[in-house]
Symmetry: C3
Subunit: 138 residues, 3 copies
């Protein structure tokens, strides 16, 4: 059985979405299975209407957003979305949407980008995360 990385993707800022996608890619490179549980703002950033238009960076480092976006463009760094999509193509990466958050928002699976594989509850995620070698709350 492959080792497993479990990520709670709570935040939805571009910088943390990037961090999550990079950690997931690192997991795939090391042959790990990766589970991402998108919840709260993280799930919100995966709504169809938000997924391509999100330019929000952490307020803590707001003045770095512009320069970083520019450098990423210059160096043709793939976006978090392309990163994550590629990780899913190369390895066993699953993105689970938090059903409680969706219900609170009055939304259904179809309101989210198809990068989300399924919706599930926190207990299901926790059950699988117990068998992870790496767990991260991002």
């Amino acid at each position: 059985m492959a080792n497993r990385m479990s990520i709670v993707l709570f935040s939805g800022t571009v910088d943390k979405m990037m961090a999550a996608s990079v950690m997931a890619s690192g997991g795939v490179m090391m042959g790990m299975d990766v589970d991402i549980f998108a919840t709260f703002y993280g799930l919100n950033s995966l709504r169809k209407e938000n997924v391509g238009t999100n330019t929000r960076f952490s307020k803590d480092f707001e003045e770095m957003a512009g320069p970083m976006m520019m450098m990423m463009k210059q160096k043709h760094t793939p976006s978090w979305y392309d990163n994550l999509k590629q990780a899913k193509e190369l390895g066993n990466v699953k993105v689970h949407g938090c059903s409680m958050t969706a219900e609170l928002m009055g939304l259904k699976k179809d309101d989210y980008d198809p990068i989300i594989d399924d919706m599930c509850g926190v207990a299901t995620f926790v059950d699988s995360a117990q068998n992870s070698q790496i767990t991260l709350f991002i």
Copy 2:
């Protein structure tokens, strides 16, 4: 011996307190023991005077605070406090206050809400967290 989830509760915003209480509930549902180490702002939000009045959300998503609070009220979603209290009633969930933070603030156990079981140092928490299947820094 039951599996264990260890949470460092560093942040004290309502959204992250909610996330911590939901993760703890998920752990209890899966039969895990849960240890929460409340430190920095997380411990501050557990002061008697703050515990019922905290409406602070992450600045990163500030405009979502109002709508989310309203939706949670409409759907009668329990607060993070009620969530956490219920998790403590249903399972083996302990909340430890960081003694170093309390000392820095000039506060004692009695200044905090009784949802905190005891005060302890970081080494004690780390010692127990080593035997956890899931560790999260929230």
Copy 3:
């Protein structure tokens, strides 16, 4: 073989740098090896020009920054930097700079404070983190 704690240091605010250094110290006290992977803003805060001048606190609790800084000064609390340095002297703590972030910023190892032991990629960090008892994303 000693137990291991692996920390992704993503944030670069003083409060989270402090939290990372305290967790690392706790790990050392418990005889653990500690690996810190400094990336994004965390790595930026370790640039030679930033390491001694950073006074940035989380925007979420901005009004607490002044009072906390004052209390830490009054009680002679060591800075996160001194904390981390001491943890490195007392135990097996390694700080790895994220090579991808450095490359994006057009920087080299020599642009960072010598508290960084080496630069490495995310896959190398993940490989080692798989064998950790505690993994934290800060």
